[in-house]
């Protein structure tokens, strides 16, 4: 037996029985162990490994001359590991050398608590150490620290003043209103003024506090968003595209807002509430410990009842919210499809459908309101039960003459004050958890390694245009390999057409040449230099790309053409525009090159957009040109015009073009036919036709389509 390449666990057998099994892959075969089953399959004769995904289970299989054979099965938990293993083993069959990393697989569950990681990450929201993150966040808040300190100070001051107020009230009542001998009017007025002053100070401080909070918050959020955005822009396409645009937007906007809210209001609030609670406790204990106990003892009970109430109500409100959104969805659905409803005469059925959802929502709502109406007075009563004890105790003391009326007023106020913070604090764990999740999510992006990073000795290089792919293999994120052992040499100035069925790996090949990704195996060289050793800035500045979906940023026509070369002169822009055929329509627009285009501006037709893209690439004056279905979405006539424009662009440059419509590639020096990630055929149009292989089939299929009467439109516009 030779070296172990990789090892995977599995958990189902052929009869759907749960088992604990393991497959070990060696260089000369694989060993399968599960309970009593022990099996050795020699590597010889194995052509390919494949991962077959069912609906509730997944299987790892091997293909030999005599057909497919099952290696092992598992529940969907095993999917990522199975597919990664089959990918690695296929690469091994292709001759790649396995290394240490092949032994390891990404985990989907936190090994500590067996809960799922946050989506697209390897962070457990429960188990990650949060202290480190907080410290880093605090570092990031450098510029707003002054304001954070200030707002905390003000919070403390407000808490202190709030404590003084009941004391002043007591003085007013005991020393002046209920005094045995009438006090001087001036003293009385002074006391009232004091109360006024304190109240005023509290309000004033409130204003300052808001000011400090807003300042601290905005500074923090600006820093946070800037750092996040810079990081995302620096990441490679593979790291960025594993998260959806929506999710990235969430992290930049919502998560950072959550963090901001927490730092600006919750931290200060927390300090204020705790301070109030502690100082109230001390005051009460110092004055009369029995009184204090009487007030504080029911507090845990009240907090507990409060928590229990919400634990009971929250899922019920969740359900109500869900029913509400279902109601909204149903309504939206019916209104958007009103033509279909009318066309099939289904009004009655839709009314019934809506009634059903509506009734359900009402049902849940009524139930919830009833629960709330019954439960909340009970908890509120429990919250206030301390006050009843106080009344009884204090009343006795007043009757005994050991306590004054003013003191009673003071303590009543304190009791009322003590339950506010308790209620506030009982919500704190939830808020804290939500913020921690946001913080963890933000740092997840910030800590992402830049996988397509420039190497330390990356060079600026002036490109001539020779491209060589040597044994290049590549697959996206644990899926099947898209390219397998691709070898290709492109000479300077050559135009290479890449053809093949969809999913054959055409776009991937182009992405690799543009270094959107690095190949998993093999090397790509430009003029003999490994792509990894050329600085990305220098590489991209010499590659121009015209893609199928032309994206125009919101801005003027001029800005969009200049995107590739912001310092271009007006004359350069006009030259490029003229060559690309933009000039002719640009000068007809009332605002000329200053016409606003993009999302909200002037709508350009598909052909016009494409011309702008070509102008963009022309202005750039690239050494290597990439055309990815550049004319696929255009009608035949426009395509011809664009083709002429492209021809000017192509002349003398190394060009790689992808097209479904084979006629588009008639000027190509050579054609490369890709099939299932491998290079199937290379040659000129005539050579490949003579060979009667895959290319011949593709050409014949397209000819047949165009011969069919009325089918011309569909052939010319493939999906």
């Amino acid at each position: 037996m030779e070296k172990c390449i990789t090892r995977i666990p599995f958990n189902l057998d052929g009869d759907n029985k749960t088992v604990k099994g393991q497959v070990e892959f060696y260089t000369d075969g694989l060993r399968i162990c599960a309970g009593d089953r022990k099996q050795w399959i020699p590597m010889e004769g194995i052509r390919e490994f494949q991962c077959t995904t069912g609906v509730g289970s997944v299987a790892l299989e091997l293909c030999r001359e005599d057909g497919d054979h099952l290696i092992c099965r598992g529940t969907m938990d095993c999917l990522t590991v199975f597919s990664a293993a089959s990918k690695r083993m296929n690469r091994f069959l292709d001759g790649a050398a396995p290394d240490e990393t092949w032994m390891h697989y990404k985990k989907a569950l936190c090994p500590k608590c067996h809960r799922p990681y946050l989506p697209d990450s390897e962070i457990c929201p429960r188990c990650t150490k949060k202290g480190g993150y907080l410290r880093r966040l605090w570092k990031m808040a450098r510029s707003s620290r002054g304001y954070i300190y200030l707002s905390v100070l003000i919070f403390i001051a407000v808490a202190a003043l709030n404590l003084v107020l009941p004391y002043l009230n007591r003085v007013l009542v005991d020393d002046y209103i209920k005094a045995e001998r009438l006090p001087a009017v001036s003293q009385y007025v002074l006391a009232v003024l004091m109360i006024l002053l304190v109240t005023f100070a509290v309000r004033l401080l409130g204003i300052f506090r808001n000011f400090a909070q807003v300042r601290a918050g905005t500074r923090l959020i600006v820093t946070l968003r800037q750092t996040l955005f810079q990081k995302i822009e620096a990441l490679s396409l593979s790291k960025v595209s594993k998260r959806t645009a929506g999710e990235l937007m969430n992290r930049v906007t919502q998560d950072s807002t959550q963090i901001q809210d927490f730092f600006t209001s919750d931290v200060g609030g927390l300090i204020e509430q705790i301070l109030t609670l502690v100082s109230l406790g001390i005051i009460l204990f110092v004055y009369d410990w029995r009184l204090a106990l009487m007030i504080l003892l029911p507090a845990p009970l009240a907090m507990l009842s409060h928590r229990l109430m919400w634990r009971f109500l929250r899922p019920r409100y969740n359900k109500q919210w869900w029913c509400g959104s279902r109601l909204y969805e149903t309504l939206y659905d019916i209104f958007s499809g009103i033509r279909v409803v009318k066309a099939f005469g289904m009004e009655k059925r839709e009314v019934d459908r809506y009634d059903k959802v509506n009734l359900r929502e009402t049902d849940v709502r009524i139930k919830n309101e009833t629960y709330f109406a019954v439960i909340s007075p009970v908890t509120n009563f429990l919250m206030g039960v301390g006050e009843f004890f106080l009344l009884y105790y204090v009343g006795n003391q007043i009757l005994d003459g050991t306590m004054t009326l003013g003191a009673m007023q003071q303590f009543s106020a304190y009791v009322a004050m003590i339950y506010g913070p308790l209620r506030w604090l009982s919500f704190m764990p939830r808020r804290l958890a939500r913020t921690m999740t946001s913080i963890v999510r933000v740092f997840d992006v910030l800590d992402e390694t830049e996988d397509v990073a420039d190497s330390a000795n990356a060079v600026e290089k002036s490109i001539v245009g020779n491209i060589r792919l040597e044994n290049v293999s590549f697959g996206y994120e644990d899926a099947k390999d898209v390219l397998r052992k691709v070898n290709l040499e492109i000479k300077p100035g050559e135009m290479i057409g890449i053809v093949g069925r969809s999913g054959a790996g055409k776009s991937t090949l182009i992405n690799l040449v543009m270094r959107m990704y690095d190949p998993d195996d093999g090397v790509i060289r430009v003029d003999g230099t490994n792509l990894r050793e050329i600085s990305q800035q220098s590489l991209r500045s010499q590659i121009g790309a015209v893609l199928q979906e032309t994206f125009l940023f919101t801005g003027t026509l001029l800005q969009n053409i200049c995107y590739s070369k912001p310092d271009a002169t007006y004359e350069e822009v006009i030259t490029a525009a003229k060559l690309a055929g933009v000039h002719s329509f640009a000068v007809k627009l009332p605002d000329g090159y200053n016409t606003l285009v993009g999302e909200r501006g002037h709508t350009l037709s598909g052909g016009e957009r494409q011309r702008v893209a070509i102008a963009r690439a022309l202005l750039h004056n690239p050494k290597i040109l990439i055309l990815d279905e550049a004319t696929a979405s255009l009608d035949t006539e426009t395509e011809k015009d664009i083709q002429d424009a492209l021809q000017k662009l192509i002349a003398g440059r190394t060009t790689i073009a992808i097209a479904h419509r084979l006629s588009t590639l008639r000027n190509a020096t050579r054609l490369v036919v890709l099939d299932h990630g491998r290079v199937a055929e290379v040659g000129t149009h005539e050579e490949l036709l003579e060979r009667r292989g895959l290319y011949y089939e593709l050409v014949m299929a397209q000819r047949q389509m165009s011969k069919m009467p009325g089918a011309l439109e569909t052939t010319e516009q493939p999906a």
């Binding site: 759907n16 509730g56 057909g67 969907m76 799922p116 989506p119």
Partner: protein, 189 residues
């Protein structure tokens, strides 16, 4: 009289829809199901227009339920490696016991769906819900990411659960579930 004719005419045209659709139904008298390397395989006899017969052999077939929630043993699409349909099985009953067993086993494997018999605990935190259940495959623990959307009610009584990995579970009958379990899941139905 004229209208009657027109009606029969239309009826004829509609009946022919199924001919136009060119669905090839596979059943015991035109298809032989056998096993190769543990996978199901098929030998299909096709009658040509001139009356002769040709035989099509598929060394491995893939089965796909057309209505995975409603009909578990009917309208099963038989496909080749490229997911092209070879034929459609109206009902497993159209085959003899041996063939049925092969097909049933393949379906059971592909659509592995443990039946939940009891819910021991159901907790919610951070937008996830954590389930601890008893099933015909033993004690199971799994996690749902969006609880409401992960539960699919089929009819009044049956509920399909899809966890965050894509595993499927089924509660065959809510009515037969014990009260404690029912109370736990009720909030999400």
């Amino acid at each position: 009289m004229e209208t009657k004719e027109a009606v029969t005419e239309t009826k004829k045209a509609i009946q022919e829809l199924s001919d136009v659709a060119e669905i090839r139904y596979l059943q015991g008298d035109n298809t032989e199901i056998f096993q190769k390397n543990g996978f199901p395989a098929a030998r299909i006899r096709i009658r040509q227009e001139d009356g002769s017969e040709t035989v099509e052999v598929h060394d491995r077939i893939w089965l796909h339920r057309s209505f995975p929630f409603d009909l578990l043993e009917a309208y099963i699409s038989v496909q080749n490696k490229d997911q092209e349909e070879i034929g459609l099985i109206r009902s497993l009953d159209a085959f003899d016991a041996d063939a049925r067993e092969i097909l049933q086993k393949e379906l059971d494997q592909k659509y592995y769906t443990p039946k939940i018999t009891r819910i021991l605990s159901l907790k919610e935190a951070h937008g996830y819900s954590f389930w601890n259940v008893e099933s015909d495959a033993g004690a199971l623990q799994f996690t749902l990411q969006d609880t409401f959307r992960s539960l699919l009610r089929v009819g009044e009584d049956k509920v399909y659960v899809t966890d965050n990995y894509g595993n499927r579970y089924v509660i065959e009958s809510l009515a037969k579930l014990d009260r404690r379990s029912l109370r736990k899941i009720e909030l999400y139905l």
